[in-house]
């Protein structure tokens, strides 16, 4: 028997704000979270632009032992999960006694690994590394730490799928609940933001060098875009069977109704129309919906010349040119492993507050983006259903459809 899957809690820790209230305000105002980080210049970066997220102080919340295994991805994810748990009315006592899983998207721990290796290089003795580093270094650092802290007893895995990691994490959690394998799953995505995390990506020349005006640098779909801006933080989406949510009297923020995915099977970094087209179509087919029912598309568009053009073509082919589209990456930059989860959270905030967040810096369309309905400024708009795209290196694509919950 297939079950309905609903969202009962969201949490965000991003460059738009350290909680959903702050993020909501930024989304409404079209406020950029991008800064110029001088230390990147000295380090050798081509572009010093980045989204800024403060490292949280977890001492008030967690014991020394709990904190030792956490570096940026786990720290950020703890903050977003803490908020989501509160909204979903979940606490450790309940979780310890009611099977709950965790599937978190994360695809690097560069900062933690380099810190550890530097210690060994300096001291030439692995026994002087300390006990926490291994749990910071592994790519499953988020679910390892959070499952321990929150006493989670269900599925416990990380999902690595480049910039679609967060989206696929939600998609797989959705399938597990839908099929009756789990009652609830803590899903999300985390992205480190330190100096080491993005150096090799910067080396590809993929980042914007519009460094004189950081807030103008990320300009998805705009004719004059010149590359993405890296960013990070974490977002948590708690999903649950409808039966469980109703039984617990949990808030129901939306219902996941479609998940589509595909692999390009092509170039390792270039986007591919066919792969994106198949992912979008699969999500719509899976949801059993007509495309006219989709009221808003949160695009993956990262502000790269080829990526945005390809996505505009895919959106136009599948959904036509009328549906409002925006990429929140104009404000956030590219939150990479986290983006698929954070953008579901951002879209839910829009859905509940009847607006489309602006695709800031969209000043002039190009040949492809002029065919779709990119929203450059805050727009009041009733959203009953939205679609969120996430595409990643290696040609991994994910599309998720969420509707307002109706009994």
């Amino acid at each position: 028997m297939e079950r309905r899957v609903v969202i009962t809690g969201i949490g965000t820790y991003s460059c738009l704000g350290e909680n959903t209230q702050e993020v909501l305000e930024s989304l409404r105002l079209g406020r950029s979270g991008i800064i110029y980080d001088e230390s990147r210049k000295e380090f050798g970066y081509r572009s010093c632009l980045t989204g800024f997220v403060k490292e949280p102080d977890l001492k008030p919340y967690l014991s020394r032992r709990d904190r030792l295994g956490m570096h940026e991805p786990a720290m950020f994810a703890y903050m977003s999960t803490r908020e989501a748990m509160e909204q979903a009315k979940l606490d450790i006592d309940f979780l310890a006694n009611n099977e709950t899983g965790i599937i978190f998207g994360n695809d690097s721990t560069a900062g933690a690994v380099i810190n550890t290796i530097d210690k060994v290089r300096e001291r030439k003795d692995t026994t002087l590394i300390g006990s926490g580093d291994i749990f910071q270094n592994m790519n499953c650092t988020v679910n390892m730490n959070l499952s321990t802290i929150y006493k989670l007893k269900g599925i416990n895995i990380s999902l690595s799928a480049a910039c679609a990691s967060g989206s696929h994490a939600i998609g797989l959690g959705y399938l597990m609940i839908k099929q009756g394998l789990q009652e609830r799953v803590v899903c999300g995505g985390a992205q480190e933001i330190n100096l080491y995390a993005m150096a090799s990506f910067d080396g590809l020349g993929a980042f914007s060098i519009r460094q004189d005006t950081p807030s103008k640098a990320s300009r998805p779909f705009d004719r004059d875009r010149d590359g993405l801006v890296p960013s990070g933080g974490a977002a948590t989406i708690i999903i649950e069977s409808l039966e469980s949510a109703l039984q617990r009297n949990a808030p129901i923020l939306g219902e996941i109704v479609g998940y589509g995915f595909s692999s390009n099977g092509d170039h390792i970094s270039n986007p591919n129309f066919d792969g994106q087209f198949r992912s979008l179509n699969m999500a719509i087919k899976h949801a059993g919906m007509d495309v006219s029912e989709i009221d808003y598309v949160n695009a993956h568009a990262t502000s790269t010349p080829i990526g945005d053009a390809t996505e505009a073509q895919a959106i136009y082919e599948v959904l036509g040119g009328k549906v409002p589209v925006s990429s929140t990456k104009g404000m956030t930059g590219h939150e990479c492993w986290m983006a698929g989860a954070s953008e579901i959270a951002y879209s839910l905030l829009m859905m509940h507050n009847d607006f489309v967040a602006p695709n800031i810096n969209f000043e002039n369309p190009d040949e492809d983006s002029k065919k779709i309905n990119v929203i450059p400024e805050y727009k009041e708009h009733k959203i009953d259903c939205f679609l969120s795209n996430s595409f990643g290196f290696g040609g991994t694509n994910s599309s998720i459809i969420v509707k307002k919950f109706k009994k």
Binding site: R65, L68, T127, L128
Partner: protein, 82 residues
């Protein structure tokens, strides 16, 4: 470093690392239970001892230590030997 300096230094770095009130680090108290050490904590204990006192205790050393006084005895011996 004399014994008084060893005690002052040890109380400072142990209270910082293990987040234990310095007033609980008394000579006759049990080192293991006062610091609430689990198996992973001994790894960190070695690191902070090496960083602050300049020697690395072995697992056999830890087996022989019950109180903080036992540890100060060991530290005096190791530091003199070094």
């Amino acid at each position: 470093m004399n014994r008084a300096e060893i005690i002052t230094t040890t109380k400072r770095f142990l209270s910082e690392e293990f987040e234990v009130d310095e007033n609980r680090i008394l000579p006759e108290n049990n080192l293991h239970s006062t610091l609430d050490l689990d198996s992973l904590d001994y790894v960190d204990l070695v690191v902070v001892i090496e960083e602050n006192l300049g020697f690395k205790p072995t697992s056999d050393d830890f087996k022989a230590i019950v109180t903080f006084n036992d540890f100060y005895d060991l530290a005096e011996q190791k530091i003199v030997v070094a």
